[in-house]
């Protein structure tokens, strides 16, 4: 938290410097325009100077202009560059510190969750011994109490396991690899087959791209989103649709894919759009879920700089969106990986005998 504040303060300082600089430049330029020919020459010189600074060719070099004001502006500019650079160093340091703190926190969570398991094992086992060995001596009320204890222990076990899973995401990162999302979804579908069959879900998957990602984590993202779309879908004809849109020039930055998982379930009210991504937050009570799924999704997507959000019309369905950066993937790689994914998807049986 402290680190987050620090980086905000640094960013603020950088912006203030920039604004100050721009104001000074404009004021100086305005004043210079009042003069004539020598002003134009000096301005040219100033422009050249700014360009060199911009290209990173100049740092502390002095302007040789006849106009004192232009020289002043030049000095201010190079001073400004220095300050921005210093601020950048500070920012980078703060970011590094923030990452280290986060890693440390994950480590702590991991160790604590493990330590919490130990007493839990005692509670679980000994309440079982109580039921097994003293069943006759307990009346119905007594047996009910022990049942409640055991169920609470089981629930706590699930919470701790999920917390472990979550903290592991923080300190055990897999290297990014080229992954065909359609192939990945074949595996996800297999894992969810039971739930899909039980509810007769129409799972539609569009053509998806090949991306650079942590394959294990990304499988978890799809698994979580699709299983949620099935689990909380009470529509008599449940449909889950997965698609992707390519954004070449989004206002948010470089080219990206926007993947969506859409269902025709009950929908989510806008007041919960943010809350559902918080750890252990659930919108309805169920026996299995702990409410970590979407928190994990958020973490996996946001780690490499992506965004995840939800759109929903209450009563009509929900769509989860997340972005995956397009960068780092060469065209040739895309082609081969796409071909490979097609082969695995359709032609594994045909390939097998020749191997």
């Amino acid at each position: 938290m402290g680190q987050a504040l620090t980086s905000e303060v640094v960013m603020h300082a950088v912006f203030m410097d920039l604004i100050l600089g721009v104001v000074v430049v404009i004021a100086a330029l305005g004043a210079s325009f009042l003069a004539s020919a020598p002003v134009r020459d000096s301005l040219k010189e100033l422009l050249g100077f700014v360009k060199r600074v911009d290209a990173g060719e100049s740092r502390g070099e002095e302007l040789e202009s006849d106009l004192a004001e232009v020289n002043d502006v030049g000095r201010l500019l190079s001073d400004l560059v220095k300050r921005v650079e210093e601020a950048q160093v500070k920012l980078a340091r703060a970011q590094k510190q923030l990452k280290a703190t986060q890693k440390e926190m994950d480590e702590h969570t991991y160790v604590i969750s493990h330590d919490l398991k130990e007493p839990l094992r005692g509670i679980e086992a000994f309440s079982k011994f109580l039921v097994d060995d003293y069943r006759d001596k307990l009346d119905e009320e007594g047996r009910h109490c022990v049942d409640v204890i055991r169920n609470a222990a089981l629930r706590m076990q699930r919470l701790i396991s999920d917390l472990l899973k979550f903290s592991r995401l923080g300190h055990q990162r897999n290297p990014f690899e080229t992954v065909g999302l359609n192939t990945m979804l074949i595996h996800v579908r297999v894992n969810l087959q039971y739930a899909i069959d039980a509810k007769k879900v129409d799972l539609r998957v569009d053509k998806l791209p090949t991306v650079l990602c942590d394959a294990t984590a990304m499988t978890g993202v799809f698994h979580n989103l699709i299983s949620n779309a099935i689990k909380y879908n009470e529509n008599p004809h449940p449909v889950v649709e997965i698609g992707c849109e390519e954004k070449e020039n989004p206002p948010t930055g470089p080219a990206e894919y926007v993947v969506h998982v859409r269902d025709n379930g009950a929908g989510i009210e806008p007041e919960y759009f943010e809350k559902i991504f918080q750890i252990f937050q659930r919108l309805q009570r169920d026996d299995e879920g702990t409410g970590i799924g979407l928190t994990i999704v958020k973490r996996v997507i946001e780690w490499p700089g992506g965004r995840v959000w939800v759109e929903s019309e209450f009563g009509k369905g929900t769509t989860f969106y997340f972005t995956l950066p397009k960068r780092g993937l060469k065209e040739t790689q895309t082609a081969t990986a796409m071909d490979a994914s097609k082969t695995t998807a359709n032609g594994r049986a045909e390939l097998a005998p020749t191997v």
Binding site: K117, E118, P119, E124, A125, A153, Q172
Partner: protein, 156 residues
């Protein structure tokens, strides 16, 4: 044909400091009805005294050479890895299979234990039914399926 110790009861040394875990493991052994003997040491130093028959275990007959060691990692005085290191560097002891039985599933712990000679690494389940299954499996694999070194063989 059979080695002298290929029949139960086998002697098992459980090294575990948590009293609840000790009881749980012993109860699991009791319920598995294999009739094996379980000896318990509560810290790493006691375990080494037991194995090397010294200190409180110096009187003959108090500490038989175990057929199998179940070893927790997080132990007072000397931790599990230190016990493991001493067992696996001692010519008389290194033949005894050591099964690490711990809560930790950290990759570093797993790697370190195998590096110093652990024969198996298992994580303790939370639910008793799973503990029972694990204890049954351990006995089946290490004491029934596997052929163990002869018990009184002190040859290097």
């Amino acid at each position: 044909m059979d080695a002298p110790n290929s029949h139960p009861p086998f002697d098992i040394l459980l090294v575990e400091d948590n009293p609840a875990d000790v009881e749980i493991t012993i109860e699991a052994f009791r319920r598995s009805r294999k009739g094996n003997h379980v000896f318990v040491c509560h810290d790493g130093e006691e375990a080494l005294d037991f194995l090397f028959q010294r200190g409180q275990y110096s009187k003959p007959g108090t500490a038989p050479r175990p057929d199998l060691i179940l070893l927790d990692l997080n132990l007072p005085k000397k931790n599990g890895v230190e016990v493991l290191e001493q067992v696996k560097t001692d010519l008389r002891m290194k033949g005894i299979p050591v099964v690490v039985l711990t809560t930790s599933d950290r990759e570093e712990d797993v790697a370190r234990c195998y590096k110093v000679g652990a024969n198996s690494y298992l994580t303790k389940p939370v639910q008793f039914d799973d503990c029972l299954k694990l204890v049954e499996d351990i006995q089946q694999y290490w004491l029934q399926i596997s052929k163990l070194p002869p018990k009184n063989n002190t040859a290097p």
